[in-house]
Symmetry: C2
């Protein structure tokens, strides 16, 4: 079993180091190889996703990814900017199925900006399509506006598109995820305005026939954004496209107030996957040893579960994380009075100890 380790930028290297430490004490024969990505890839070889890094990721059974991005790369041309690495990995590895749990740990209920009764016990799963939609649709660019009142001016344009097979396969992922949970799936669209999402709705409705045990409902994206604020616990699994999923999964993560705790998985058709924390590279606190490594450690647990077929090890890690929270250990981002503030490494060590 080979794991590609891509730490990236900002706090990426620090938090990934803790997850690697945890993987190393499991007693599994994992081979791990590290390569630069994002700004680090650009520094090393002039491109955010160096060929060797892509090849390593392609050859591995799973990818553990930290985070990419730093203000100092903001002035680079778009194709050279760090986040292009993550788009390139998703596309080249065919990682169409993004699973983003939004879970509020009971110990962290106060971290949320929402009232406890609205979010305590929150446990929803957002399934976001990750290789289609307006993220990759062609044509796109800046051109001369071809018609209408602004004819002849410059205009920016992009293409939103979803093919039938693309919608079917993400719908299957979502229905199957719902089967393992509370058996309720909400498909989020904008069928009242967009042709793409009327088509999406029709196909999801059709796939539903194969999952009669799952209750399906449809919700417009603007309403979904409202319901996430109003009554997030009413959701079980949400499935949506790449663009809407980007927005809603971040909003859902923030409901917990503890985005430093949230892992994610991005899977291909064979359950090979890339695993990364839901938060970003936080360049403002990079190198200070205060970042929360738990989202990355929990991403490693998801990797064990989905790509490496090690359910029990995944459970062990998740239990160890719960244990350190119960012990009152907190990194700065989730600290509150009466708990013990620890740094990145101490937190990693505590998880290792809890595993023993």
């Amino acid at each position: 079993m080979k794991i590609a380790i891509l730490p990236g930028d900002g706090i990426g290297p620090e938090i990934v180091a803790q997850a690697v430490k945890v993987l190393n004490v499991l007693g599994e024969p994992f081979e791990m190889e590290t390569a630069p990505v994002g700004g680090a890839g650009y520094e090393a070889s002039g491109h955010p996703l160096p060929d060797a890094t892509l090849k390593l990721a392609q050859d591995a059974d799973a990818v553990l990814f930290g985070a990419v991005g730093d203000w100092k790369y903001d002035t680079l041309d778009r194709p050279l900017r760090p986040e292009q690495a993550i788009l390139g990995l998703r596309k080249n590895l065919g990682l169409f199925g993004n699973l983003r749990p939004a879970i509020l740990y009971p110990e962290l209920a106060n971290a949320s900006t929402l009232k406890p009764e609205i979010v305590s016990g929150l446990d929803i799963l957002i399934v976001r399509e990750l290789t289609g939609d307006i993220y990759f649709g062609q044509p796109r660019g800046v051109r001369e506006c071809p018609d209408g009142p602004f004819k002849g001016q410059r205009e920016g344009f992009d293409t939103m598109r979803y093919a039938e097979g693309e919608i079917r396969r993400i719908a299957h992922v979502a229905f199957q995820a719902a089967q393992k949970r509370d058996k309720r799936l909400t498909s989020v669209d904008k069928a009242n305005v967009l042709e793409t999402f009327q088509f999406w709705k029709d196909i999801v409705t059709d796939v539903h026939k194969e999952y009669p045990d799952v209750a399906l409902d449809h919700m417009y994206v603007d309403n979904a954004a409202m319901q996430l604020v109003r009554a997030p616990k009413k959701f079980d699994v949400i499935v949506t496209g790449n663009m809407f999923g980007d927005i809603l999964s971040d909003a859902a993560a923030m409901l917990t107030g503890s985005i430093g705790m949230l892992p994610s998985a991005s899977l291909d058709a064979n359950n090979k996957g890339l695993y990364e924390p839901s938060h970003g590279s936080a360049p403002d606190i990079a190198g200070k040893g205060i970042a929360n490594p738990l989202a990355t450690i929990l991403s490693a647990a998801m990797m064990l579960r989905y790509s490496l077929n090690r359910q029990e090890q995944a459970n062990r890690i998740e239990d160890a994380v719960k244990k350190v929270l119960a012990q009152g250990l907190r990194t700065a981002d989730i600290y509150e009075e009466g708990t013990t503030k620890v740094g990145t490494e101490e937190m990693g060590n505590a998880v290792v100890k809890a595993l023993a």
Copy 2:
């Protein structure tokens, strides 16, 4: 001065009736004419935006709009569904500038699902472009997928686009709105992925040169969705495109927990406008006399301010609404213990009385 009154469906007629009552006691020589729209338009003449209704709206100085939509029209073909009326009015009247305040009245602080310290005193303004973007871009439809791994299958597609002049005019609206407030503008984009919104960002940055007194910052839409949950009071004015604005303005409205209080304005280049509550037609409570008419009454106030040049009357109405809240009057949606629950008509009457 001629006002087109378009009550629409669901609770639309009830709440618009209260706003009309308020307008009638101002002692202004307004001529008001009513026409059916949405499901009511479809019932009356087979189309959600009957020709006569569109003509009335075009000839008027301002439009007061209730709400459209009812489940019973869900099975109609898309071009006949109620919400097409609102899209048709926006496009035909050139109402490109949508102003949606999200204000939390001190008396209603408990209505929010967010903690009081996060939202009390919230007062942000979302400026949403309303006649461009992927809402109207051509081409769009369902076709045979022309390339890639799904070639030959059906695919749904839409076109996102913004011309330079379209971005400039909404940027001017937003900068000028910011000048009248706290002089801070956040432009929301997805420039890291979309050509349309890299272009958007460039043009907004250019327009900024004409407003050196306004502080401009740029934020990705996923981050904006997070920051609205995390620290909404940090925003002053937000400007964004039609699609992102749809999602963010609804999320922002829901932060207040009292969407029944929030008006909106949709303006053309000459400040002619359509005014409507931010909430929907709520068919589940239609005809029960319990809907909150205040968002519609406050929409009438916005109409007086922006289209009819009656600042003082606008202030009078807004003060009257504050007065009835201070008196403890509440419709069911904002009711809490210790206040007095009233129906739609009682609430309208109370505002009329407070105006005297």
